[in-house]
Symmetry: C2
Subunit: 390 residues, 2 copies
């Protein structure tokens, strides 16, 4: 039985970016305190959580301090040092969720794909590559392929498309480390499942449709613009993935929908995911509340859809880094069902995720309505340089 | 035009109780930082805001420090020292909203009623009282009356019902200060309007129905269980009140609905109000987001209802103060459309507001459904003593 006390349980989060910030925003109403560890002083989460420990993700002393202040440890970035977290967890007796075993399975994209394939979960054709010869062989077998760094890549970093066998060597050099290839899948649509595993409970938010450009997520549209059978299949695949992983927490599961309605797993992130930000206003509970509850071992929140919803990222539309100043925000603030999320990052950089806007519709309303509004709003705002007035 | 920058604007809030906490929770997504001033170390808002200045509400040095760190000052408690706020605001050039002139009008309940009556806004019969003779005269004129402290009362504190002329003297002694009387109004229903005044804009959330016991709010039911004409009349009266006040911010306007559908103004609070907590999940924008935007001079948020909603307070059901431990929370956490808000107060006291639960329905669903669930949940939880296990 859960008894709430004060001070409530404290969640120690490795990473204090926008995901840490939104975790803290979700934890507040539940009486759950959040302390984050992040090397950047005054990181996005700092303004809305109990405290920030300024330390590197591999700083043992910092992680140990975090554990000493926390009842449960979790993380919001792939860069977290899992072995260090595990060692500190063992030394201090403070659990870390998702569990290191789960992370190990996800961390190396080749191992991830192998585990999925071994469990009978559909994935695009893939293979390990050691050298340019392996890459050329893959191109011969599959046509164009995506060369991927096995570890450390996100937002398209570490991914290099290769079609010309003559570019195999250069592509390997660009990835600069252990790599794998995947066949390009001619997909109809990218979908995502935000899936939660609690203490014996599973839950999946409604399936979203993701629109990427330059391999960075631009918008998520919910419900996805596909048929019911495909949605059902996506939920089945996501459930199979959740059953394979067994650590508690939220997982962002990116899927491909092929032309014949097949669902393939693209990638899994062992944390709340950009494609789940819409849940804050669009579902009864959110992916962040789900993660907080899951890692604490509390009952999960409802994943029920409240209304058709679209979220769109506010990415740095600049060519050079500079102080973060977003002009045209009035348009967002004046739009009745638009919800602004501004992450408080000090510096804007090209394509950096600076915030997002979620537009909710009404129950039963056409899905196109929020999408049209969201796109208009994204076009209405722009990052300005120091001398651009405003 | 609003340009968002980092760090975003900072709101300095006098008071860091649950209202300050929920203001900070609403400010976070907007990139607005909150610093609170509160004499209780580790006040409820402290865990979710940028910083707390530990100082008394009448501590000039503390208020000045708050102003120096803020772009706009506001307050969440009636105990804020308005003259001091005004003086600091003038000295530092940092505006305070709502404006001191508005507060002066509200602060003294007798002046408030006079101003409302002078503006043609319907109020219960009232009069100033100086001595027991005046109280007896009021009883003679109106039957039972409510003797009210002119300043400083809230949650029924400072209110003494008097029916027997022989008790007039004792009642005046209980109030212990300047007093007024109001005729008891045989009302059908208590309603409330959460009204927002921005920079030239007015907005009113859907009218709620309040259920009080022992003069403390127990639950708010939205939409109110009354007819459309009465709701319309309540909105008209609330609009008249907003036009009389002219300071920016949120106002909680408590209303009586009489047997013949007349609407009378009971009391006005110059801040977000307990009867508006339902807006966090039940409306598109919330009273807290509305207050943040209003005092910053930003466009107001939408006040549109999302679904029938009920909020119920979690009050201390103890006979003696003690450490805050709420048992049975699982029932709330397991209920799909129930949203827990736990304020993080260290000590539970008899009838102290420790948290609240909001239950949302579905669009078009019967209003009774969330009310039934909310009442069951409130009955399912209880504050336990240190030795009660759990």
């Amino acid at each position: 039985m859960t008894t709430l006390e004060t001070p409530g349980p404290t969640l120690g989060v490795v990473g204090g970016g926008q995901l840490g910030r939104m975790l803290a925003e979700a934890a507040g109403p539940l009486g759950v305190e959040v302390v984050v560890l992040d090397p950047t002083p005054d990181c996005p989460a700092a303004a809305v959580c109990r405290d920030q420990i300024v330390a590197g993700f591999d700083d043992e002393e910092g992680i140990r301090e975090l554990a000493e202040r926390a009842d449960v440890l979790t993380f919001e970035i792939e860069l977290a040092d899992q072995r260090l977290l595990e060692a500190v967890s063992e030394a201090t007796g403070v659990p870390v969720h998702p569990s290191p075993a789960t992370l190990e399975l996800i961390h190396d994209k080749l191992e991830q794909k192998r585990a999925l394939a071994d469990a009978g979960i559909p994935v695009p054709p893939f293979r390990a590559v050691e050298d340019a010869g392996d890459v050329r062989a893959a191109i011969e077998a599959h046509g164009a392929v995506m060369l991927k760094a096995r570890t450390g890549g996100y937002d398209g970093r570490g991914n290099v498309p290769v079609e010309d066998p003559g570019e195999a060597g250069a592509a390997l050099e660009a990835v600069a480390g252990p790599a794998m290839v995947e066949a390009f899948v001619p997909f109809e649509r990218e979908l995502s499942a935000i899936a939660v595993r609690g203490d014996g409970e599973l839950a999946i938010f409604p399936i979203g449709e993701n629109v990427h450009r330059e391999e960075i997520l631009r918008e998520t549209i919910v419900p996805a613009r596909t048929d019911d059978a495909t949605v059902e299949r996506a939920r089945e695949v996501a459930t199979d993935v959740l059953e394979l992983l067994d650590g508690r927490g939220v997982y962002g599961i990116e899927l491909f929908e092929t032309a014949d309605g097949e669902i393939l797993v693209n990638e899994i992130a062992p944390r709340p995911h950009n494609s789940g930000h819409w849940t804050i206003e669009g579902a009864v509970g959110s992916q962040f509340e789900g993660h907080v509850r899951a890692v604490l071992g509390w009952p999960l929140c409802s994943t029920e859809l409240r209304a058709p919803t679209v979220s769109t990222n506010l990415l740095g539309d600049v060519t050079e880094p500079g102080p973060a100043r977003l002009a045209g925000v009035d348009r967002i603030l004046e739009t009745p069902r638009a919800h602004l999320h501004w992450y408080g990052k000090r510096e804007v950089r090209p394509l950096r995720k600076m915030g997002h806007v979620t537009v909710t519709g009404r129950e039963g309303e056409r899905r196109e309505e929020p999408l049209t509004i969201a796109r208009e709003l994204r076009e209405a705002v722009t990052f300005t340089g120091p001398g651009d007035g405003g």
